[in-house]
């Protein structure tokens, strides 16, 4: 859409929302939120940007085809589920660092799992909406 207002707003919203999405991702384990909703918000940030600036600009911003984000995310989740196998624990077992670190809190494999979900959902939503808007 050719409007300065939206363009400007979206340019400011983009980093803000990305930040927000990571916030939502990190707090998911203790409060409402998590990888799914976080990824969705990140995607919405880019989608807003795309609505305002046109798809091509946003694609340039993302640098890779959103389709490639999906296997990346899946790989992250998958690996984080596989890691416990190394220490002879079953698939998907939560592995935790012994001490919590500041800001993020307990670091564990489930966090990476959620991160994978985040990335996947980001890729999925972008792929779907971009494809549809391109064809629309």
């Amino acid at each position: 859409m050719n409007t300065i207002v939206l363009r400007t707003a979206s340019n400011y919203l983009l980093p803000l929302l990305l930040l927000f999405s990571i916030f939502i991702l990190l707090r998911g384990h203790n409060l409402p939120g998590g990888g799914f909703i976080g990824g969705l918000i990140a995607a919405i940030a880019f989608v807003l940007h795309a609505f305002a600036n046109g798809l091509n600009r946003t694609k340039k911003l993302i640098k890779v085809h959103p389709g490639f984000i999906m296997p990346f995310g899946l790989a992250v989740s998958f690996l984080s589920a596989l890691v416990p196998l190394l220490s002879n624990a079953p698939f998907m077992t939560g592995i935790w660092a012994s001490d919590p670190i500041p800001v993020i809190g307990h670091i564990g494999s489930t966090l990476f799992f959620d991160l994978g979900i985040y990335i996947t959902v980001l890729g999925v939503t972008l792929t779907i909406i971009f494809t549809i808007s391109e064809a629309a």
Binding site: G28, H29, N30, L31, P32, G33, G34, G35, F36, I37, L40, G67, M70, P71, G73, L74, S77, F78, A81, M92, G94, W96, H106, G108, T110, F113, D114, G116, I117, T120, V121, G123, V124, T125, T127, I128, I129, T131, I132, S133, E134, A135, A136
Partner: protein, 766 residues
């Protein structure tokens, strides 16, 4: 014995792979296989005549109770010798008959497979293995009938034959398994001990119906006989081997084999008598309308098979004796007749008896062979045929009931059989030789020696019946548990009624042969009644069945999605309603329900109205917008009941869906075509019923209190064990993390789907 069968199978397999190289020159050597097997079985003649029974058991499928049990007793031996002996002659004959044929290797392959399967049928002591071989005979017959597969009629005949024998096969399957279950064993020998149990079981009638169905279709009994004339499309060696000498007798074999197990009750005897009787008379009458050599032979074969079934049905010792002997008699003369028909066909390229005459002038030896076969066929002394016919008359006369009727029928049949035999074996050779046949020369020895051997056997055994009496006939009777005290097969019994009937048969036969030349008028008369024939009736039935199939299939699969949904739904609503009404006490426990507050009520009302609005509105966009409100209301409900994660996700997803909808909608047309009002009312009724049932079910289930020990565990240990305070999220990423991982896979796949649906354009059509 397994070796014998495997030899045939291996022979067929070898041909599949190497046949191409062998078929040119060495086809004659293929005959060594049946010959070898014939010699193999011959060595058992003596032991079995001495009362031995050769058995072999190879463990195969113990967990099914199915083993490769083989028994070689008199009956099996007789059939085995027939199969391999005639097989040898046919293999020999075919090497010349189909010389240079493009697919000769396949032909021998099928033939070899058939021979193996047929041996399996007669040797098996296990009823399921018997069925197995039985089916293979049908299949190889299918391939052989359709051998000239560029000919549409051949293909059709093959399918008809397979349909009927396959139908019989299916009945046999039912028969063997039910019988096996009732008897508690699949072994036929062991079933003899369970005879009482079987005959008195509730399943006796179904069992024999299935058995009869199997036997009658295979042995071409009325009204299933019509596949056999059609099967004459097969090359003549096939007709000789399968459709006269061996396969068609499998039904008779089966009935004889099971007589000791199942025979006895009236239902058994009278059915066989009736079907056999009708078949023999009906087919015999048909002979007079036929002008094609093979058609005549086909009907006379059917008739002869009828005679065998008839005799089996009579079931007296005499009758069984007659049947056993007649099987041999028939095999010998009918095979001869077929083989010389083949020679005639080969040389003159016609089988129309009206066009054939005087061939003795160019092929005298063949004419003599034909005459001998016709004589045996007509029961003229001193041929083997005479012996056989005498036994039939004797058996018929001794019948306890209706003996005159039965004898009359036998005589009548034999007269017409006599006629048919002379039409084939004599007529083409007498009279004047048409000019166009003058160049005909004698065929190669491979073609005439086999029929010559068979014809000679008919005479030799006729004169010296003792050749087979103790070696084959008595063991056969023993195998069938028929104890003929003093059996003396002989030509001359003195002047008695039987002899009189024989002479009468021959006289009238000759009379008809000379007086009743084939005429178009008679053929036309039969054609007129063709629509009433079993063939026409059954084919018509098939036609209507197909029509019904169309109706049935198109009724359900009519292309309209709404009908599919409706059908499933009706089915569901019917059963669900039935169960709900019959089992559920509709008592509500209102006290246990939580109170409703104004915001909740308002949210629910907005939800309800927006759902209705989405349903009713004619604007697609408005409907989609209403969906957005539905999503919003639902997420508020989730929130009211303390499910923030849910509220969040529900809202995001519904909005996203709405957005996708909106992005996609804009090129679509308006709702142009509406369902008609009657359908709409119907839909409202069914949808409401379904919704009501679900609501009732929900209330009913809600009242059942469950014990959520798992959720209690989560509540207590989410933090201590999984280090997360948002229990819902802990479930998602830890307790039930697999669900979530796979859910993200689902999303990925959906995204790929969206991408490919919109972006993929095929460059190459398929």
């Amino acid at each position: 014995m397994l070796g014998a069968i495997l030899t045939g199978v291996i022979f067929a397999l070898v041909l599949v792979f190497f046949g191409r190289f062998l078929k040119r020159r060495l086809a004659i050597l293929f005959a060594a296989v049946p010959l070898g097997l014939f010699l193999y079985f011959s060595q058992y003649i003596k032991p079995i005549a001495n009362g031995d029974i050769i058995t072999q058991s190879v463990s195969w499928l113990p967990s099914f109770g199915i083993n490769l049990d083989f028994t070689l007793d008199g009956l099996s031996l007789m059939f085995s010798l027939l199969i391999t002996g005639i097989g040898f002659l046919v293999f020999l004959y075919a090497s010349e008959y189909l010389k240079g044929h493009q697919y000769l290797d396949r032909f021998y392959g099928y033939l070899g497979l058939f021979m193996a399967a047929m041996l399996g049928v007669v040797l098996s002591d296990n009823v399921v293995t018997l069925f197995l071989f039985w089916e293979i005979t049908s299949i190889s017959s299918f391939f052989l009938i359709g051998f000239n597969n560029n000919d549409k009629a051949s293909r059709k005949s093959a399918i008809t034959a397979l349909s009927l024998t396959g139908f019989g096969g299916v009945l046999f399957l039912g028969f063997s398994l039910i019988l096996g279950s009732i008897a508690g064993t699949y072994s036929i020998t062991e079933m003899l001990n369970a005879k009482e149990l079987i005959v008195q079981s509730d399943y006796y009638i179904p069992i024999i119906i299935l058995l009869f169905g199997a036997a009658f279709t295979k042995s071409a009994q009325f009204p299933f006989h019509f596949w056999l004339p059609g099967a004459m499309r097969a090359p003549t060696p096939v007709s000789t081997y399968l459709h006269s000498a061996t396969m068609v007798k499998a039904g008779v074999y089966l009935l004889m084999r099971f007589t000791p197990v199942l025979g006895g009750p009236d239902s058994w005897h009278y059915t066989l008598l009736a079907v056999g009787g009708v078949t023999m008379v009906y087919a015999a009458v048909q002979i007079v309308s036929k002008t094609d050599l093979k058609a005549i032979l086909a009907y006379s074969t059917i008739s002869a098979l009828g005679v065998m079934i008839f005799l089996t049905g009579l079931g007296t010792n005499k009758a069984i004796l007659a049947a056993s002997v007649f099987i041999l008699v028939h095999a010998l003369y009918k095979a001869t007749l077929f083989l010389i028909t083949g020679i005639i066909d080969h040389k003159t390229h016609t089988r129309d008896i009206r066009k054939l005459s005087g061939l003795r002038k160019v092929m005298l030896p063949i004419a003599i062979i034909g005459l001998l076969a016709a004589l045996s066929n007509g029961g003229v002394p001193p041929t083997f045929g005479f012996l056989g016919k005498d036994l039939i008359y004797e058996a018929a006369l001794e019948s306890e009931r209706w003996n005159w009727l039965l004898t009359g029928a036998s005589v009548f049949t034999n007269i017409l059989l006599f006629y048919g035999g002379f039409q084939v074996g004599v007529k083409p050779f007498i009279g004047d030789l048409p000019a166009k046949y003058e160049k005909i020369t004698m065929p190669k020895p491979q073609l005439w020696i086999p029929p010559a051997i068979l014809a000679l056997l008919s005479i030799v055994i006729g004169i010296f019946p003792l050749l087979i009496q103790d070696s084959l006939v008595v063991p056969t009777l023993n195998a069938l548990h028929v104890l003929e005290d003093e059996l003396h097969l002989k030509l001359w019994h003195g002047f008695n009624l039987v002899l009189g009937l024989s002479m009468l048969t021959i006289l009238i036969g000759l009379l008809i042969y000379f007086k009743m030349q084939p005429s178009d008028k008679r053929t036309a008369l039969f054609t007129k009644y063709e629509p009433l024939s079993p063939k026409a009736v059954i084919l018509k039935g098939g036609f209507y069945f197909k029509k019904f199939s169309f109706k049935w299939t198109n009724f359900f699969q009519n292309g309209y999605l709404r009908n599919y949904i409706n059908t499933i739904l009706l089915f569901l609503v019917f059963l669900l309603g039935f169960l709900l009404i019959s089992h559920i006490q509709l008592k509500m426990n209102f006290d246990a329900m939580t109170d409703i507050t104004f915001p909740e009520l308002a949210t629910l009302i907005i939800l309800i109205i927006s759902v209705l609005f989405a349903v009713i509105t004619q604007s697609r966009l408005a409907a989609v917008a209403a969906l957005g409100i539905v999503g919003l209301s639902i997420s508020l409900i989730f929130l009211f009941y303390s499910a923030p994660d849910l509220a969040m996700t529900q809202f995001s997803i519904d909005t996203l869906t709405m957005i996708l909808f909106v992005l996609v909608l804009y090129r679509l047309p308006k709702y142009l075509n509406l369902t008609n009002p009657r359908n709409r009312i119907k839909d409202v009724i069914i949808a409401t019923t379904f919704g009501t049932l679900i609501a009732l079910l929900a209330l009913e289930v809600w009242q059942v209190t469950n014990n959520n020990e798992v959720s209690r565990f989560y509540a207590e240990h989410a933090y201590t064990l999984a280090k997360g305070k948002n229990v819902v999220n802990v479930i998602l990423v830890d307790f039930r993390g697999i669900d979530t991982l796979m859910e993200s896979v689902v999303l990925t796949v959906a995204a790929i789907g969206v991408f490919s649906l919109l972006k993929l354009r095929l460059h190459q059509k398929d």
